[in-house]
């Protein structure tokens, strides 16, 4: 940040605490210390009045964007007019922001080059967060699948007296012959075992 300039005051509204902290960390690393993070919009007008932010960021899944925009247009809390994004003509930035899932409102008259880095940082952090969540979801479902297979093996071992290796081979062979995933076969087997179990014995 250029010396001698008053640092930008930034308000981030995000109900996802984890993502909010990812964005906060990014902005602090980049030298933006005048940061306020809020997780819900209760009393937001008073907060805005108090901190007079230069930039307000909110994620697109937040249903309160319409309320917020109305407040920018009407409220006495907002002393300076607030426009959207960096620059209306900067369509690439706008598109990148919408794609990343964030929208930014910027006090009128603020120079484009001062806001652009903030928005770029938010966009890259939003994208990184989405990637992270996706990977986490994938890892979670991978783990779930593995657990299903373990349980199905256990059922086969106890009901048919198979070894662990034999149980696995049976599951894999069945999956191959039916052209299905081994986790799907495991799931069917667990469901069937649950249905067939004598009352009181199901898990």
């Amino acid at each position: 940040m250029p010396a001698g300039q008053k640092p930008l005051s930034i308000l981030v509204i995000d109900e996802n605490h984890l993502r909010a902290s990812v964005i906060e960390a990014g902005l602090r690393e980049a030298g933006y210390d005048d940061l306020t993070i809020v997780y819900d919009v209760v009393g937001i007008a008073r907060r805005i009045e108090k901190i007079q932010p230069d930039v307000i960021m909110i994620n697109l899944e937040n249903p309160n964007r319409d309320m917020l925009e109305n407040m920018f247009q009407l409220s006495r809390a907002v002393k300076r007019p607030i426009a959207m994004f960096v620059d209306r003509s900067d369509s690439a930035s706008i598109e990148a922001a919408v794609e990343a899932g964030v929208s930014a409102y910027v006090v009128d008259g603020l120079k484009r080059e001062r806001v652009k880095p903030v928005l770029d940082m938010a966009i890259s952090r939003f994208n990184a967060f989405s990637r992270m969540s996706r990977e986490l979801d994938e890892a979670r479902s991978e783990l779930e699948k593995r657990k299903l297979v373990e349980r199905a093996k256990g059922i086969l071992m106890s009901t048919r007296g198979l070894s662990e290796q034999q149980a696995y081979v049976l599951l894999r062979k069945t999956a191959m012959s039916q052209n299905r995933k081994i986790s799907e076969i495991a799931e069917s087997l667990i469901t069937a075992a649950g249905l067939l179990a004598p009352p009181g014995e199901e898990e």
Partner: protein, 407 residues
């Protein structure tokens, strides 16, 4: 069909997304050669932004929104046209149980009559002023919405100044019921299923409905990017035909069970079917098993309900002026008038042989009973379309109407 048009449409999870949803789910879009993708959104701002950056070609929009976009009143707006409406009516005004109790004490009855309930509400409002209690706070979904304007019209006609005697705030539809129950707001005007939901859950009381404040009145529309529409006239025409057929299907009472089952799905409104049937049947709940019958509560197809009347656009514009959102000039009125495009509607739907109005605009509030009007294709019956206070809106006398509507 040989050619496939790829169209992505944004929608909000509300009952009146029905026409768009069934165009896809019941195969009306596919039959016109359209590969229709529907994307559910969480705010009208998202819909506007995604239309602006080209993620959507068309969207489920609040009737006044495209006009506000074209007048430059909202951030990040691109030129947007309205080639079709997505039905008429569908909103209701609901108040908290406490406000209803106070209104009842002042003579409000469970009949949705705007004049008498409004009169009772006025007494409640005055009482609070004399007791120095905080103003009642009502919510609407968006500043540029039919909800905002019909709520204000009703209040003003009942002698309540909506800018001084009460407070009006913006709350997203799915949060309305909780906001009412928690006392954050005292009432709201919203689309379905959110008034029915409050009534069925015992959290609020429906006091009047859009169809009673202004019968056969405009609500959601199909907003289309003007540039896309210009460059893809065939895709747009095909879409309008698909939507018209979908609207007809939605308007058939035999399909209402199926319709609510589809809308209840996770991808769409994702709320219980039982919350959506009352609006479709025109039997709105008022507590326990009791209901009030409303004619034309939500009309997806009949009575030219999908026709984009220029008089509807101009009435919305007159309300933007009335409540200080825009200055009245001849140029602004022209922008509003040209936003709605009955010419495109007629050109696209002519092959269907359905009833098409000959006129582009009409005097709103002039029909006191259902009336046959000039049409091409099948015969067309319009109305009744009255304002509850007997008001008339003649789009040819816009200046005089605007001048007369000061409080």
């Amino acid at each position: 069909m040989a050619e496939t048009h790829q169209i992505t449409a944004g929608f909000m999870p509300l009952l009146d997304s029905a026409v768009l949803v069934t165009a896809k789910e019941m195969g009306f879009a596919a039959a016109e050669g359209i590969d229709l993708t529907l994307v559910r959104e969480m705010s009208w701002a998202n819909i506007r932004d995604r239309l602006a950056v080209g993620h959507f070609q068309v969207a489920h929009m609040l009737g006044p929104m495209p006009i506000a976009c074209n007048l430059g009143l909202t951030p990040l707006a691109v030129p947007t046209i309205v080639p079709m409406a997505l039905g008429q009516g569908g909103n209701a005004v609901t108040v908290s149980n406490a406000v209803w109790a106070a209104m009842s004490a002042h003579g409000a009855e469970e009949n949705f009559d705007p004049a008498t309930t409004g009169h009772a509400l006025k007494k409640v409002v005055l009482e609070r002023v004399s007791q120095r209690k905080p103003l009642l706070r009502f919510a609407v979904v968006h500043p540029f919405s039919g909800h905002n304007y019909e709520l204000r019209y009703w209040l003003a006609a009942c002698g309540i100044d909506p800018s001084r005697d009460i407070e009006i705030v913006i709350v997203p539809p799915p949060l309305m019921v909780d906001a009412l129950a928690s006392g954050t707001i005292d009432g709201y005007c919203v689309g379905e299923p959110w008034s029915t939901a409050a009534a069925l859950l015992g959290r609020g009381h429906i006091v009047t409905v859009k169809a009673a404040i202004w019968r056969s009145s405009p609500e959601k529309v199909l907003g289309a990017g003007a540039l896309w529409a210009e460059e893809n006239p065939e895709a747009l025409s095909a879409l309008l035909r698909a939507l018209s057929n979908a609207a007809k299907w939605c308007g058939d009472a035999h399909n209402h069970d199926d319709l609510t089952r589809i809308l209840a799905e996770k991808l769409y409104v994702a709320q219980p079917a039982g919350w959506m049937l009352p609006a479709l049947r025109g039997q709105l709940p008022i507590g326990g098993e009791r209901t009030v019958a409303v004619s034309d509560f939500f009309v997806p197809f009949a009575k030219g309900a999908t026709f984009p009347w220029k008089s509807h656009a101009l009435w919305f514009y007159s309300q933007m002026v009335r409540w200080g959102q825009v200055q009245h000039t001849a140029a602004n009125a022209q922008i509003a008038r040209e936003t709605y495009r009955p010419d495109l509607y007629r050109a696209a739907l002519k092959p269907l042989g359905i009833a098409l109005p000959v006129a582009n605009a009409k005097v709103e509030g002039a029909l006191t009973a259902a009336t046959p009007v000039g049409s091409s294709g099948a015969s067309l019956v319009l109305g009744p379309d009255g304002f509850f206070d007997g008001g008339l809106f003649d789009p040819d006398k816009l200046d005089a109407y605007i001048a007369s509507q000061k409080l």
